[in-house]
Subunit: 206 residues, 2 copies
Amino acid sequence: MPKVTEEHKKKRRREILDVAKKVFIKQGFQATTMSDIVSASNMSRGGVYSYFSTTDEMYKAIIAENDQSFEAYFQNLMQMKSYWNALLIYLDDLERSAYDDVREGFGIVAYEYLVMTWREKERIQFFKDRVDQYIKLFAGLIESGVKREEFHPVQSSEAIALMIINTNDAVYLLSMTVGADKARVKDQVKSLKIYLRYVLQVKHIE
Amino acid sequence: MPKVTEEHKKKRRREILDVAKKVFIKQGFQATTMSDIVSASNMSRGGVYSYFSTTDEMYKAIIAENDQSFEAYFQNLMQMKSYWNALLIYLDDLERSAYDDVREGFGIVAYEYLVMTWREKERIQFFKDRVDQYIKLFAGLIESGVKREEFHPVQSSEAIALMIINTNDAVYLLSMTVGADKARVKDQVKSLKIYLRYVLQVKHIE
DNA sequence: ATATTAAATGACAACAGTGTCGTTTTTTAT
DNA sequence: ATAAAAAACGACACTGTTGTCATTTAATAT
């Protein structure tokens, strides 16, 4: 084909990213070759290469989309009347997804990428930015709660935010590798709740 | 050379493992080829192959040694009069090593391996066993504390143990990728202390 | 000293994955 | 219809890695 609409190109790009995401999740980032994605797509080698010339580019595109949709989900949480309730719902969702669909999610791919590539200096900024972005979200929620006098934290919002993120990560990682039961997801979420209720000094609970 | 003592073979094996460990830490597990290790060693390709035929075997050997030395360290902790103090020392060590030598440690390689290989069914048992092993250590410490009426936990020892392990992991992982400061190691350790003091209901503190 | 044994060597064939590029195909404009 | 443009194709040369094996070398036994 030839001189084609922008729309068509966007669609092609989408198709490739969808295929790539599936393949990444199924067999891991590093184990995925360009050839794998070419085979899984219904395009030719050259065709795929004209959109993305490395799996790394694909990863970056997918993770950006993922982060964006997490932000949307998070904005939704922020609409709630009670920020504590928002946190509880977040924790519920975490628990549920650890049981239900961790293994179908892109999360593990993100870990794999992180753990595999942190040695390359030029990527460190990328990771730092992502950490900041996520800290900002949760710290923002906490500070909003403080303004409304729902929370009276005994630690900095950032420290608490990071604890949430870290526990989230740990729960996901372990669930994926040894299963949600063995990872004691329920217990871990409960532990985080215990910690949060204490450090946030939550008023008007539940 | 030829028909050589067991001792000599052990030494050779050691040499190879030492080299492999260095290379793994420097460039990551997956990025390390047999050829890399051959070059880094002062043996020939065939020589190395006669001891280990994959990097996977090397990894398994190294991680076993690592786990063993962690157990030794832990047994040491268990000798202390106060189990709470033992935990505090453990947390101190965690904090210190996150600042000082995370990047020289084998920990990140272990993550990489975990995250890269969990899809292979036959490895899941390996991971499960390791998790159990570590839970057992910490849960054991907690239970000893209970027997001595130092602790009066409000959660199961295993759940608490896992929270320690998870935080440990998260702190290491983040420290390595974005640095100990950005990972707010001090804060995270403090958070864990807060959590522990509450769930363990520690008596005779410090 | 010499023979025996096996440890160690390194060249090599086989394989997997990459990136390119001349060719084909299809769309749009005329 | 036809021409022009570029999207898509896929064969291919290239590179890096692996595992092997005939050969060399050195330790031990006699």
